[in-house]
Amino acid sequence: MIPGIERVSPTVLELSDVSKRYGDLLVLEAVSLSVDAGARHALIGPNGAGKSTLFHVITGTERVTRGRIVFGGKVITTLQEHRRTQLGLGRTFQQTSLFDGLSVIANVELAVQQRSGLAHRLFPSSRGRTRVNERARELLELVGLEPREAILAGALSHGERRQLDVAVSLATNPTLVLMDEPTAGMSRDEAMSFLSMIASLPASLTILMVEHDMDVVFELATWISVLDAGKLIADGTPEAIRGSREVQDAYLGEGEHIAKLFGPV
């Protein structure tokens, strides 16, 4: 579809020396990070470490102060947000961001029609419309929301909103999805069924997620990067991260996380 994107590259996303400054505050300091194709890559770190800011500069809602971002072989450092989406960079939101006044299926269709080039059409073929509707149904089935397709998105439960958020994001045909705390606010059961849904997604899809729940992180992640005070302090496999001295230090004082991180070992 888009030239350059099919290039077989083990690295989907690469940040080089990325810094972000708000006035005197240096929120990200020379972060270099790569995300491998097909990875379930988790980004963890104490509150205020700069995880959300890092997400923002990757998705394009914020610009980097310094550094370079390469996605799918293209430099996207200064590209507008919607252009990055068109290149295959999807995201879900920490506060689910949906079209509350529209039905569940209409939410997904809005995303599908953009991708299939129908969004500006005044008089589309009925075949085009059917295709959009069928694709939207497929995606709802994938996240397990098919029975709820006619309900208004604003009437869904918290967990269902998360599922719909994922379906809407996948509708943009991303090669990489950024998920910002996807299980936040979910009950245990909801989180577990959400995880199995994520696990069932095609292996070719790369996921980069910010997550606070260490159970979720160690259940899902194939790679973990740890951010603290705007710096990348550790980057490795879950086993390596578990044993890292620096990570333990960064989390000191956040007893709850420590217990979760290192307790069950």
């Binding site: 252009r83 989406t85 961001s97 006044g101 500006h120 005044l122």
Partner: protein, 329 residues
Amino acid sequence: MRALAPGRAARLVQLALVALLAMAPLLLGDFRLFLLTEILIFGLFAASLDLLVGYTGLLSLGHAAYLGVGSYATALIAIHLTDNVFAGIAAAVLSSGVVAAATGWLAVRTRGVYFLMLTLAFAQLLFTLAITWDSLTHGANGLPTPKPTLGPGDGGGALDGGTAFYYYALVAFLIGFGLLRAIVASPFGRTLVGIRENEARMRSLGYGVARYRLAVFCIAGAVAGFAGSLTVQHSNYMSPSGISFEVSTLALIAVIIGGRATLVGAVLGSAFVFIIRDELSSAFNEHWRLVLGVVFIGVVYLLPRGLSGLPARTGLLSRRIQTTAGGSA
């Protein structure tokens, strides 16, 4: 009633309404028919505003600018070139679309109150231009225009008399209104609603939002210009008051009283506004605006979804309400 599917019932109601409109000259006197013609034309204008306000969430306070550009274009063509209606309409749609593109290019980059102020400013600018550009517009004296004709060249097939013009306006209205209906039902129309509901998410879905805002601004402006053309052809006169702040606000009031994002509500609202004006101006003289204001406040408080939300309110469509309520429970 129960046997009818909701879609079919709606279609029957629509057919009945169109049939009623087609028979109106038999049922109404000259004065009422003149008023109905005015309502249809203004209703089309208000419906084009609903495309911005109701569907896209762009609150414009200066939509009369594009109506006015269309009116002046038609008036000038009729005076200087030809009184053929199609030439007048083509000039109106083209010029108002171009002016909407030029002003919209700046306006769609702003949000909320800034968009409101900018559209108001553009309209006031054009209003002032219309008053001061004496050689073109004859200033506040206005431009009397010849009666429009349907046939080619001057004088052929004159739209003489209220009934002939009414049918002409009705067909024009149905074409314009049908176009607006098709737009809001299209994928493009859904995109507009998406922008209204959650602009940030639209961007993250890959939508270049500014482009769509500009497109809808131009379409709404062009349809307003179409209505402006009909306005002049109906009244055979154009003056700066046709572009005034009051025209913009009356259209906005019509959209809100009728019910946003319904299109038909804009026409209902226009009927309401015009009937209040004509029925009450004899009783209250210049104070009819006061009465309209009070009614407006009442409607906003009692009917948040406007007149077109009234059937649901009174339980005629109670089934639909139950499904909505059941969903949120």
